[in-house]
């Protein structure tokens, strides 16, 4: 079965500081999804990575997928209170969108 490890489990950062979340798969990925979960809002799509070495950015969030397509990182630059939440990575092994999710990383941003 697919194993997806996410780290750290939680982190607290000072507003304005950078942070990085990692997601490691035991299998080669067809696609890797990053979502943000907020209570009452479901899973909010952030980015989807498919190609080895791919990097995408949106506002202050950057996600990368390594060349082997087994590890991804999510980096937030100059964090703000709006970045607080639970970040989930979801792995698509076969391209059928049957996603396996990591346990999530809870991000707290302190003013």
């Amino acid at each position: 079965s697919q194993e997806l490890e996410q780290s750290p489990q939680s982190l607290i950062v000072q507003e304005g500081k950078n942070l990085t979340i990692n997601c490691t798969s035991s299998k080669t990925l067809y696609g890797l999804y990053w979502y943000k979960q907020k209570y009452g809002e479901g899973l909010i799509f952030l980015m989807m990575l498919q190609k080895g070495g791919e990097e995408k950015s949106h506002e202050k969030i950057t996600a990368k997928l390594d060349e082997k397509k087994q590890q991804s990182s999510l980096h937030i630059t100059a964090s703000q209170p709006s970045h607080a939440g639970i970040y989930l990575c979801g792995a698509d092994i076969r391209g059928d969108y049957k996603l396996s999710f990591g346990a999530g990383t809870t991000v707290t941003v302190r003013a």
Partner: protein, 117 residues
């Protein structure tokens, strides 16, 4: 921005009762999914649905579960006889493209919290 709508947001039911969770996917999407998240655990795939039939289901999706697209807009998840362990947040998702179509986005709803007493 188009969104996936789920109702109810929270339902409390007695063990053994039937529950129907409803979802309105994004209008031009043809592929539908249900996921669930038990409190404190990972989000888990339940079932995918296309062209009025189940495409794939997980081992969680046993005979107590069923899905239906009763009309052109709704997508429902029915739990026939609820158990305590069915208590979870249930997420509906939809996508425009189907499997093996390349880059695609699954858009999730806000979830329906089910509490079984």
């Amino acid at each position: 921005e188009p969104e996936v709508t789920q109702t109810p947001s929270h339902q409390v039911t007695q063990m053994g009762q039937e529950v129907i969770l409803r979802c309105v996917p994004i209008s031009n999407h043809l592929y539908f999914y249900w996921y669930r998240q038990i409190l404190g655990q990972k989000v888990e795939f339940l079932v995918s649905f296309y062209n009025n039939e189940i495409s794939e289901k997980s081992e969680i999706f046993d005979d107590q579960f069923s899905v239906e697209r009763p009309d052109g807009s709704n997508f429902t998840l029915k739990i026939r006889s609820t158990k305590l362990e069915d208590s979870a947040m249930y997420f509906c998702a939809s996508s425009e493209l189907g499997p093996f179509s390349g880059a695609n986005v699954l858009t999730f709803g806000a979830g329906s919290r089910l509490t079984v007493l």
